[in-house]
C-alpha cells in the first residue's frame, strides 16, 4: 500500500461541507420558492468543480450527499451520487479554466451552475429507477429543475469564490 497522507484541503473542505449541509437543512429546506426546496448540497460540489478541483468536488459531493440522505427518507446514496456526478462533470470544465471567475466572462460560471441545477432533479428522478424507487417522477420535477437552475445561477459566483479559497488553502501541501 502506498503511503497515506492527508491533504491540507480536506479538513477545511469537510468543515465547510458540514456548514453547507447545515445551511441546507436549516435555511433552504424550510424556505421554499414555488414550493420547491433549493438543493444547496448540489451547488457545493458544482462550485468546487467549477473552481477546478476534481478530487475535492467528488469528496464534498459524497460527504454532503451522504449526510443529507441520512436526514431524509429518499433512496440512500442517491443525493451523493448526483452530487459527485455533477462535481466531476463541472470539474472537467473547471480544469480547462472555463469557469475561472477572473478571466472568463461573468456569466460563464453561473450558466454552468444553472445547467447543473437544471439537470440534477431529472438525474435524481432517473437514478431513482436504478434504486428501485419508481415514484420520484410524481413530484413536480420540472418546477424543481427550473427553480434550482435559477437559484444556482444567482448563487454560483459567491459559492465558487468560497470553494476556490478552500481549495487554495492546501495547494502547497499536495505531493
Amino acid at each position: 500500500m502506498g503511503a497515506f497522507y492527508v491533504r491540507r484541503q480536506l479538513i477545511p473542505a469537510a468543515i465547510a461541507t458540514l456548514f453547507v449541509l447545515a445551511i441546507q437543512l436549516v435555511v433552504f429546506s424550510g424556505f421554499r420558492f414555488a414550493d420547491v426546496v433549493i438543493m444547496f448540497v448540489w451547488l457545493w460540489p458544482v462550485a468546487m468543480g467549477i473552481a477546478g478541483y476534481t478530487m475535492l468536488s467528488l469528496i464534498v459531493g459524497l460527504v454532503a450527499g451522504v449526510f443529507f440522505d441520512l436526514h431524509s427518507v429518499t433512496p440512500f446514496g442517491l443525493t451523493a451520487a448526483i452530487g459527485m456526478l455533477l462535481g466531476y462533470a463541472t470539474s472537467r470544465l473547471g480544469r480547462e479554466g472555463v469557469g475561472d471567475l477572473d478571466s472568463a466572462a461573468w456569466w460563464v460560471a453561473p450558466v454552468i451552475a444553472a445547467g447543473a441545477g437544471f439537470v440534477a432533479p431529472l438525474g435524481y428522478t432517473i437514478g431513482g429507477f436504478f434504486a428501485l424507487d419508481f415514484q420520484l417522477w410524481r413530484g413536480s420535477v420540472l418546477a424543481m429543475m427550473v427553480v434550482n437552475a435559477s437559484a444556482f445561477f444567482i448563487m454560483a459566483r459567491p459559492v465558487v469564490r468560497v470553494a476556490r479559497a478552500i481549495g487554495r488553502l492546501g495547494e502547497g501541501a499536495i505531493r
Binding site: A22, I23, V26, D35, F67, S72, T74, Q135
Partner: protein, 247 residues
C-alpha cells in the same frame, strides 16, 4: 444495508451535523425574524385580534360540547361501538419539514420515550396527516398522506365501497383511480379511513374531500382528485394516535 445499521448511521449523522445546524440557526433565525417582523407586523396585529375573538367563541362551544360528549360516551358504552375520540394521543410539535421535494415528511418532537412508535397514525387540523415511519428516542419522522409512497384504504358514504387513496407528491394533493361508475362519487364527498382488518389506520379518520371527478377515457371508471381534509401547509402541532395496526 440493514435497517439497524442505517438507523445507527442516522444517529451518528445527527450528532455530527447538530452543532453546525445550531450555529447556522443561531445566525439565520434572528435575521429571518427581523425581516418577517418588519414585513408582517400589521398582519400579526390583525391576526391577534381575530384569534382573541375566535378563542372566545371556541370556549363557548367547548362548554356546550362537553355536555354533548358526556351523552355520546354514555351511548357508545351501551352500544359497544368503537369511538375514535376514545383513542389516546400524544401532542407533538412539528420541528422540521421534509428536506427535499422528493418526499413528503415532517419531523415531530416526540419519540419512543413518549410512546410514539412506528405505524401510529398522526392527525391534525381536523383530519389525517400521515403515519409515523421512524421513531427515535425523542423525535419521529411522519410520512404525510401526500407522499408518493402513501396508500390509504378509504371509504365514503355508507361505507359499502372501499378504495385506495394515493399521494401525488408534496403539495400535489391526493388521487384515486379506477373508481367504478356506480359508486356515485361527486365533488364534495368526504373520504375517511376504512379500518378494515389489517389496515394501517383505525376507522373513521377524515382523509380528504373530492374536488374533481374525471371520467377515465375509454374506461367505465372515474379518476378522482382529492384535497386533504387537514391543512398540510400549516402544520405546527399534531396529535399522534396511540394505536397500532393489528398486523
Amino acid at each position: 444495508m440493514s435497517g439497524g445499521i442505517v438507523a445507527n448511521l442516522r444517529r451518528v449523522a445527527n450528532v455530527v451535523v447538530a452543532p453546525f445546524s445550531w450555529t447556522v440557526s443561531a445566525v439565520a433565525r434572528p435575521i429571518g425574524h427581523l425581516f418577517a417582523g418588519a414585513v408582517n407586523y400589521s398582519d400579526v396585529v390583525a391576526q391577534n385580534q381575530k384569534l382573541r375573538y375566535e378563542l372566545g367563541v371556541a370556549e363557548q362551544h367547548a362548554n356546550q360540547a362537553w355536555s354533548l360528549e358526556r351523552q355520546a360516551q354514555q351511548l357508545t358504552t351501551q352500544l359497544n361501538v368503537p369511538f375514535i375520540g376514545a383513542l389516546s394521543s400524544v401532542a407533538a410539535q412539528v420541528t422540521s419539514l421534509s428536506p427535499t421535494n422528493f418526499s413528503a415528511t415532517i419531523t415531530i418532537s416526540k419519540g419512543r420515550k413518549q410512546g410514539v412508535l412506528v405505524g401510529m397514525p398522526v392527525v391534525a387540523n381536523g383530519g389525517l396527516v400521515g403515519i409515523v415511519i421512524s421513531s427515535g428516542a425523542n423525535a419521529s419522522t411522519v410520512q404525510l398522506i401526500t407522499d408518493v409512497n402513501s396508500s390509504i384504504g378509504a371509504t365514503f358514504g355508507n361505507g359499502s365501497a372501499t378504495l385506495i387513496i394515493s399521494g401525488n407528491g408534496l403539495n400535489n394533493g391526493l388521487g384515486v383511480t379506477s373508481v367504478p361508475l356506480n359508486d356515485n362519487v361527486a365533488p364534495g364527498t368526504v373520504f375517511s379511513t376504512d379500518g378494515l382488518n389489517g389496515a394501517l389506520y383505525p376507522p373513521g379518520l377524515p382523509i380528504a374531500t373530492v374536488t374533481k371527478a374525471t371520467l377515465t377515457p375509454g374506461a367505465a371508471t372515474f379518476d378522482l382528485t382529492l384535497k386533504p381534509t387537514a391543512d398540510l401547509r400549516n402544520l405546527t402541532y399534531v396529535d399522534v394516535l396511540l394505536w397500532e395496526p393489528s398486523t
